[in-house]
């Protein structure tokens, strides 16, 4: 106390400070408030808009907008509820059936569901959502993308043509059909098991069509401006109360929510960009739960009183990308040499403080259909050395010609997360004669080279996950040859993998499908389009009195489950 008094008096602020401290610690209102701190807050509530890839915006989508189906609850591990990815439960849809002969899904919709605006949920809301996705009017058409991944009929690349016919085709046809007010049918163009997984993803959430139409204008018939800047009207557990971009997002519990009003009446989602500050505010007890702490910060909280770390293994991973179009990574022995030169256990220990495990595949191990493949890699410098010689570069001789290829890129904004691993890799690879330089780059610049130009030779990444919980979804996203493969960042192309993927995609029998997928995973681990490094825990730090954390594959915090 003496120190405090001395300091404040020295600064001449004592009386002012005393008055202000009282003002700022006024008791909270009687309603139950959850204060969540994140790196950022939603930038948009339009999932087809400019912020579809923005994690905080996705948190906004998922807490405000309701899906048709969701995963059922699974086991609870260390106080964290995991989901059972083999079981779906109804959300806005109460039940469903699939007719193999016509490839048609029939969804029976829940009755008596009210939106935040008080509108009753009907089949029209589902039709509106699909019609909006098919209109391709958003700046980044995620709704279309997901429908096409699930082989919904007529959601094809032909829609993008600039011809009058294509524009006409962008109107919703009978592929999504209203049978009655509470029955909807969705037709697929081919058998595809991804229908239900896709319905859980943010780009397939259902808007309140009446409220959306009320805010449509002639220039913006699908209310993109409204969802980008004002609100996302839906039937979810929370309704928007106020929103200041880059600062704060406040939601209040939806009193009409069909599962019952959530425990917290109000959620304040605040942006605190410095993770050290998020940690400090949590420790003083003012924040309820915080997102995106670094592994080191999480470790520092282990012994903090009244703080719990919640989370577990799901689909957070770190991997190395080696571009097939960049020499010498076109050489299979070179790729394997790198896989054997990564000090997996040291990465787990020094970068993740033990809160990670080696990733032994290229599909998250929590996903149904994952197999531990025969090809496995461990830190084995002797083997790496031998493979390097086999590749034609004994002790790294000759690799100096590829200085640019050995620039290890990673997202500069994630230096605290990726930096330690990048440095470890650099040291171990250099010891083998592989001349690695570190090349952190701003996220947008990296995304441009990785996703669009696809010319990044060598990079370390930890921010991508297949949000559809299925090996085929992961493969289509990362590994299948374009144009069917969507986002093949390493220019990988393998006829065998493509064939197995095609078979799995249309195979109706689950066990047969899993056999194809298992074989495909063997191909991947042999060819190494990515070198898997670790699977790490997805973690949130919170007050110990807070319970009910549920981990979702989208990795966003779902507020409705939390309670004290």
């Amino acid at each position: 106390m003496r120190t405090r008094a001395a300091l404040t008096v020295k600064l001449g602020f004592a009386p002012l400070l005393a008055a202000l401290s009282i003002a700022a610690t006024e008791p909270a209102a009687a309603q139950k408030t959850l204060l969540v701190l994140g790196e950022s807050v939603p930038a948009s509530l339009d999932y087809d808009g400019p912020a579809g890839n923005h994690p905080a915006s996705q948190t906004g989508f998922h807490n405000l907008i309701e899906p048709l189906v969701d995963y059922a609850a699974g086991k609870v591990e260390d106080g964290t509820q995991l989901l059972d990815f083999t079981k779906f439960e109804g959300a806005l849809a109460e039940s469903w059936s699939f007719d193999q002969a016509t490839l048609t899904w029939t969804f029976k919709l829940r009755q008596g569901v009210k939106s935040c605006a008080g509108n009753t949920f009907t089949a029209d809301d589902v039709l509106y959502t699909y019609a909006r996705a098919k209109s391709l009017t958003g700046k980044a058409p995620i709704g279309y993308f997901l429908a096409s991944v699930a082989s919904v009929a007529n959601f094809t690349p032909a829609l993008f043509a600039k011809t009058p016919e294509a524009i006409e085709m962008r109107k919703l046809g009978d592929e999504v059909k209203k049978v009655d007010d509470y029955t909807v049918q969705i037709r697929q163009s081919a058998p595809n098991k991804l229908m239900l997984p896709v319905l859980t993803i943010f780009g397939a959430l259902t808007y309140d069509s009446k409220e959306m139409k009320a805010h449509a204008t002639t220039e913006d018939p699908w209310s993109h401006d409204y969802t980008n800047n004002v609100n996302a009207p839906s039937f979810g557990p929370y309704c928007l109360e106020s929103w200041k971009k880059d600062e704060e997002f406040v939601a209040k519990a939806n009193p009409n929510y069909y599962r019952g009003k959530p425990y917290f009446d109000r959620v304040i989602y605040r942006k605190v960009p410095q993770s050290a500050n998020r940690l400090a505010i949590l420790r003083t007890g003012q924040a309820s739960i915080v997102e995106s702490l670094t592994p080191r910060e999480i470790e520092s909280l282990r012994k903090a009183p009244n703080i719990t770390i919640g989370g577990g293994y799901l689909n957070a991973t770190m991997f190395v990308l080696l571009n097939f179009k960049s020499k010498p990574f076109d050489n299979p022995a070179m790729r394997k040499a790198i896989a054997y030169a990564i000090p997996y256990q040291d990465v787990i220990k020094t970068s993740y403080f033990g809160e990670a495990k080696q990733w032994e595949g290229l599909v998250p191990s929590a996903y149904p259909g994952y197999v531990k493949t025969k090809s496995q890699y461990s830190y084995d410098p002797a083997k790496a050395k031998q493979l390097l010689a086999e590749a034609g570069y004994p002790d790294g001789k000759g690799l100096e010609a590829f200085a640019d290829a050995f620039k290890l890129s990673y997202v500069a904004e994630r230096e605290s997360n990726l930096g330690p691993t990048a440095t470890l890799m650099q040291t171990r690879l250099k010891a083998l004669g592989i001349p690695v330089q570190l090349d952190p780059q701003p996220a947008t610049q990296l995304a441009d080279r990785q996703l669009v130009k696809k010319d990044l030779p060598f990079s370390l990444y930890d921010q991508s996950k297949p949000v559809g919980v299925d090996p085929a979804y992961a493969m289509q996203l990362y590994f299948v040859t374009p144009p069917r493969g969507v986002n093949n960042m390493t220019n990988f192309s393998d006829a065998k993998l493509d064939e197995l993927f095609s078979k799995a995609q249309t195979e109706p029998d689950t066990s047969k499908r899993n056999e194809f997928l298992a074989e495909a995973q063997e191909v991947l681990m042999d060819k190494l389009p990515f070198v898997p490094v670790v699977e790490n825990k997805l973690q949130f730090a919170m007050q110990s009195k807070l319970k009910g954390l549920v981990l979702y594959p989208h990795q966003n915090l779902i507020w409705r489950h939390l309670h004290e």
Binding site: R4, L7, T8, L17, L20, S21, A23, A24, E26, A29, T33, S44, P50, A51, G52, N53, H54, G138, K139, A140, P141, I142, Y144, F145, P157, F160, H224, D225, N228, S242, K244, K245, E247, E248, I268, R270, K271, V272, P273, Q274, A276, N277, A280, I281, T284, A287, E413, A443, T444, Q445, A447, D448, R449, Q450, L451, V452, S464, P482, P483, N487
Partner: protein
């Protein structure tokens, strides 16, 4: 006369802004990345990419993009710069002007209070140390200058958070401009301290002041040293000048002599404050980040990292405009303070 001078300067400022707009337009298009990538993300199929590029207008030839930006021969159906429209942010889809209207006052509020306070502290301290070189005031100035300049402002900011919030708990948590449990007042001027008073929200006013405490303290701490030094040096020089010697020889009271010296020392000090003001508009970003004040600095960094062309263009133009206005104001103040200056 001063009226003509101001008009002339405004005319030049307009041309300068047009120049800045053109330079920025071309410079950002030389950045080593494509903004569409961020937008389409994982959904980067060729069709989706083209669709997004069309939506942003970057599929058009460069001259057409420039025409759309300026609002001459535009084919976008939107107003351009010359009609007072800075475009729509590619990250949030909100008009850039609206976003800047929200973030600029945040920075102006911190910087204005900080520089005002710094000036009020630095002036007497500088005068005192000049009048008694080697005295207590002089020594304080020296030690302060050495300390404050030894570490970057964000480091001091984080240290102040640790000491005043985490250890002593006399400062609020570094999460914005007002207690999150209080309703945010409606923005009128954008200055939280003014808006809360205008709406009679005394609780929110105190909270806003409380939240300004640490960011202002940090900036005052960091910038005052330089202003004190400037005042000290110029007062010392003035005290040794012929006219002060003459004043003293004429037997004028010491207080009046000090006032003469002060006037001479004031001009460079005000110039320095003016320079700090325009520099801090963008350089206060570190303070904004540490204390979660969503000001224009943070907005600029966010826009640059996301390659949000309209937002970058908007920020640069607005900051340039404010800087030009500050320099104009400085010239007018100089004319008032220094009778030798004639326009």
């Amino acid at each position: 006369m001063i009226g003509r001078f101001v008009l002339k300067r405004l005319g030049i400022a307009f041309l300068q802004l047009i120049g800045v707009a053109l330079v920025v337009f071309f410079m950002i298009r030389m950045l080593p990345a494509d903004p569409v990538a961020r937008l389409v993300g994982m959904n980067a199929s060729k069709d989706a990419y083209e669709q997004s590029a069309r939506a942003l207008g970057v599929d058009q030839p460069l001259w057409q993009q420039l025409a759309n930006f300026l609002g001459v021969f535009s084919n976008s159906g939107q107003k351009g710069l010359l009609q007072g429209n800075l475009g729509v942010s590619w990250v949030t889809n909100t008009p850039v002007l609206t976003e800047i209207r929200d973030v600029l006052p945040v920075t102006l509020e911190i910087v204005t209070y900080s520089l005002l306070l710094a000036f009020l502290i630095a002036l007497p301290l500088g005068l005192a140390s000049a009048r008694k070189p080697g005295g207590i005031a002089d020594r304080i100035t020296l030690i302060w200058g050495m300390f404050a300049g030894a570490q970057p402002d964000f480091w001091w900011g984080l240290l102040f958070v640790f000491v005043f919030y985490f250890l002593l708990n006399v400062a609020p948590p570094p999460m914005g401009r007002i207690d999150p449990l209080l309703a945010t007042p409606q923005a009128i001027t954008g200055f939280m301290t003014i808006d809360t008073l205008l709406q009679g929200r005394f609780d929110a006013f105190l909270s806003a002041l409380h939240h300004l405490m640490l960011p202002v303290l940090t900036l005052v701490y960091v910038v005052s040293g330089a202003i004190v030094k400037m005042v000290r040096t110029n007062t010392l020089r003035a005290l040794q000048s012929d006219y002060i010697l003459y004043a003293r020889a004429s037997g004028l009271p010491e207080a009046q002599v000090a006032r003469y010296a002060l006037r001479a020392a004031l001009t460079p000090a005000i110039t320095l404050v003016g320079i700090f003001y325009s520099v801090l508009l963008s350089a206060a970003v570190t303070i904004e980040v540490v204390f979660t004040m969503g000001g224009i600095g943070q907005y600029a960094v966010r826009s640059i990292l996301a390659f949000d062309y309209p937002a970058i263009q908007g920020v640069v133009l607005v900051v340039a405009f404010v800087s030009l206005m500050i320099y104009l104001l400085l010239d007018i103040v100089h004319a008032y303070l220094d009778p030798r200056i004639r326009y």
